[in-house]
Amino acid sequence: MASYDALRHLTIGQYIPTGSLIHRLDPRAKLVALACLIAAGVVAGKYSNALLLLLLTIMLVKLSRLSLRSMLASLAPVMPVLLIMASLQLLFYGGVTRSGGPNRLLVDWGPLHISTASVRVIIVTWARFATLFLLITLLTSTTTASALTRGLEGVLRPLNIIRVPGHEIAMVGAIALRFLPILGEQLEAILQAQASRGVSETRQSRWRFLANTRRMAQMVVPLFVDAYHRAEELILAMQARCYHGGRGRTYLVVSTPRVSDYLTVLVGVSLVALAGVLQYSILP
């Protein structure tokens, strides 16, 4: 953990303008397409559809002219969790898979079962995770917080009939996104301050739960207090600017849907269908 630089790395939530096609899409279309792709990801349980989706997602990232490498680099902090999950699945999953399909046992020794099914589960899980991560990062990097708010609000507007506060939900989301990097910086400063007073930097072994919990509390409590104070100040600032929810608000930027937006939604829906078809086909 010697490199505190890593925490500034949070590319999730940071809008990076490159003027690409994806940037120019209506945010509502992007949100609907995202939902479709996520649904497709949930359905996809086989090599064919999971890897296809991942490939398509990577193509979208390329299309947006963003750096695939730096996006993947922010996955680094989560790697340990993935590795643990993967090892557990590899070693113990061996049983029957939901979708059936060929399943050859490779190792069978006491409690350990390693089979082709478990290998597939791991690869598919990673592919889905990577797809999900890249899609969300893609969305937040190509859409400004305000555009996201508008998009979410637009998508939730039909639900106003059943009293769902679409605008307020969208606002909460936008502010959370805006403050994520700031809290990241705060956490970095907190860790530096604590290290300066002799708080141990080396990661405790996985099994020392109590020490680890304490360490987490040491990091989380000051961060939470900081976030709370910021929230209080932000509330005052928003009130000072006459914020009173979604009623009677106008918007500087209004997007009217174009052909590209309708196409995007169409593509999204088709992909869900395709994923479903592949799932129940005989392809691996």
């Binding site: 400004t144 305000s146 805006r178 910021r230 005052l236 600017r241 006459c242 106008t250 918007y251 930027v253």
Partner: protein, 304 residues
């Protein structure tokens, strides 16, 4: 139209009123802020100045007690909920930490937030945003992400966001406290410009049909004494009360009193005071560097 923009009467405010450790932040403030005035409110941390600022636009409401206590903005009481939107559009407030005021991830959308909330029609929104950006020198940066701005630029953004609401008054609650010296000077220059309502800002004169100064009314909350020098009037707060009031010259004429109140003289005034202690024949109430230099050179009879 009345020349009094904000009227504060018998204002009391207590934090944590119903707990076992209530804090009386304001103990009876009476104040009238005139249109076009540049008012500085100073005091050490904890003297109540931030609390007072927040009462001016209804962010905090006077604690009800036997004595009463009201704040009126353009004749409307801040305790009336239906008046609050108008009041806050009239008395705009900029806080100390720019990061905690910025919501949007694009500069011009941030500036639009205020008028959007007021339901300003789209055409006018664009106009207001553009004008506010130009007035604060942020036009070139309008499409940037606020995170990429310097501290001084963020402070200007916070001001621009309020200007877009076309307020009559701008309250700055220690907005320069965290800035480096150069940024601080920039902001002060900007505030002075806004106060004087120069040629650059003609549209601010459209709203107010009055015959007084057509610039913005400024309320500057600060503990930096040099920021006080440009003010028309200074209020010194201590333990929730106004203990000293007058022009900067009048207030700075009492250095010992200020020191006891946890404040200091600006450097030029401090030097002048020392020289007079030594017996130098300088006039009283020297405030600025320029005044000191003139007084010293005149006294010695040196020609430039």
């Amino acid at each position: 139209m009345s020349s009094t923009l904000i009227h504060v009467a018998r204002l009391h405010y207590t934090y944590d009123l119903n707990t076992d450790a209530p804090i009386e932040a304001l103990r009876g403030i009476d104040l009238q802020i005139k249109r076009g005035e540049y008012l500085a409110i100073v005091g050490h941390n904890g003297s109540g100045k931030s609390t007072l600022a927040k009462c001016l636009n209804g962010l905090l409401l006077p604690t009800p007690d036997q004595v009463g206590g009201d704040v009126w903005v353009e004749g409307r009481n801040t305790a009336q909920p239906e008046a609050l939107l108008d009041i806050r559009a009239t008395v705009g407030m900029v806080f100390q930490n720019a990061d905690n005021q910025i919501i949007a991830s694009v500069v011009e959308e941030e500036v639009a937030f205020g008028p959007e909330n007021l339901g300003v029609p789209r055409e006018e929104l664009r106009q207001r945003v553009d004008q506010a950006l130009r007035d604060t020198g942020l036009w070139e940066l309008r499409e940037r992400n606020p995170r990429t701005l310097s501290a001084g630029q963020k402070a200007r953004l916070a001001i621009a966001s309020i200007l877009a609401m076309r307020p009559a008054c701008l309250v700055l609650d220690e907005s320069t406290a965290m800035l480096d010296p150069l940024s601080r000077r920039e902001i002060l220059a900007l505030v002075r410009q806004l106060h004087e309502g120069r040629q650059v800002l003609p549209h601010y004169m459209i709203n107010e049909q009055q015959n007084l100064s057509s610039g913005l009314t400024i309320v500057m909350i600060t503990h930096h004494m040099d920021e006080v020098l440009g003010a028309d009037r200074v209020l010194v707060l201590e333990q929730g009360r106004i203990v000293l009031e007058g022009t900067p010259r009048e207030v700075f004429a009492q250095p010992e009193r200020l020191k006891a109140l946890g404040l200091a003289l600006p450097p030029a005034a401090a030097i002048a005071w020392r020289l007079r202690q030594c017996g130098a024949p300088l006039q009283e109430n020297i405030l600025t560097s320029e005044e000191l230099i003139q007084a010293v050179t005149a006294s010695v009879g040196v020609r430039p």
